[in-house]
Homo-oligomer: 202 residues x 2
């Protein structure tokens, strides 16, 4: 199995068809007004994320659901036009909500939750989703990978528990770094470790 | 997507190639001696599981790791020759252990944990694993499904987040009911709901 995994990686690298996998842990996006209410100030960057301009904030939140809560949850910046709480389906069982699997920004009709910060508390009527797996592709990589914006592809993972994920949305932009984004259910289901690769299957 | 999912299911049913998916939540196996120490008596059946002779016990345990614990964890009977704690990799992060992905019964060198019952506490030096996904096949179904004992196959899921799982071990026995067993990371990664089906790909 280890040999087969290595061979797969070599094949992919030789064909330049590989994309690095990244797992997104549970996190929250807030608006400028909400950051003010929760923290008393806007978000401040702690470190950059793989996607240009995006950052992990120094600020942290408690997310409270009907059945449980998560403390010390990451907040990602910059601020957005609408709040969004991205969790895994496993996390949903802990909180007591059933997040729909949605593309980022698509929160209409999703369950709500309570955000507790050091300076205030906000009750969100909606915003809890499980992020639909997707691939960010820099425009320069799109031709090499043989994909176009909004294409739906499959992805073969070169990981400890190999999987082919179907139904991944490709998004192409000059503002993206090329990465596959999985949530932690998906990352653990395929045994992903940092630096692991996948290959797009059209 | 819903139409495609239905069509896939129809295809599979027509070809009689489908296998029902089951998710195994975190659970514990103990020996007769350990049951005595933890509960003051042997395990008592609450309800049967899909595999003949196996049952969910009335008894429950707390599983304690270096970083966290799970209360009210299911215990499965009948008792075994060696204790085993089956959790997901996600659960491992909560407990603070890194379970290897192993076939049931293969616990050599795996991390330990503490089991707390109403009548006693046991410190296990090993036994925490993530169950390697597998397919139980009744002997009468093996030919229909085109598989033999110990074969490694892939499995396409007809689920909300469709996936092909590679590297599933097939086990054939007249004592088995035919089911795919996934852990909750895998079940959530593919959006599995009770009754969902998969198709074996040789």
């Amino acid at each position: 199995m280890e040999a087969a995994k290595l061979q797969n990686i070599v094949d992919a690298v030789m064909g330049k068809l590989f994309v690095e996998l990244e797992a997104s842990g549970r996190h929250v996006h807030v608006t400028k007004e909400q950051a003010q209410m929760l923290f008393g100030h806007g978000l401040t960057p702690k470190r950059p994320l793989s996607q240009p301009g995006q950052y992990l904030a120094n600020e942290r939140l408690t997310v409270i659901g009907p059945k449980g809560e998560f403390q010390n949850v990451a907040v990602l910046g910059p601020e957005r036009k609408e709040a969004q709480i991205e969790i895994s389906l496993t996390d949903g069982r802990t909180l007591g909500v059933e997040p729909p699997v949605r593309a980022s920004g698509s929160v209409q009709g999703s369950p709500g939750a309570v955000l507790q910060g050091p300076k205030g508390r906000i009750i969100l009527q909606q915003g809890v989703i499980a992020a639909k797996r997707h691939i960010h592709v820099h425009s320069d990589d799109a031709q090499k990978l043989g994909v176009r914006d909004k294409q739906i592809v499959k992805l073969q993972t070169f990981t400890d528990r190999p999987v082919v994920f179907a139904d991944l949305l490709v998004r192409v932009s000059p503002d993206f770094a090329t990465y596959v984004h999985l949530d932690y259910d998906e990352a653990n289901a395929c045994g992903m470790k940092p630096g692991d690769l996948g290959r797009i299957i059209p």
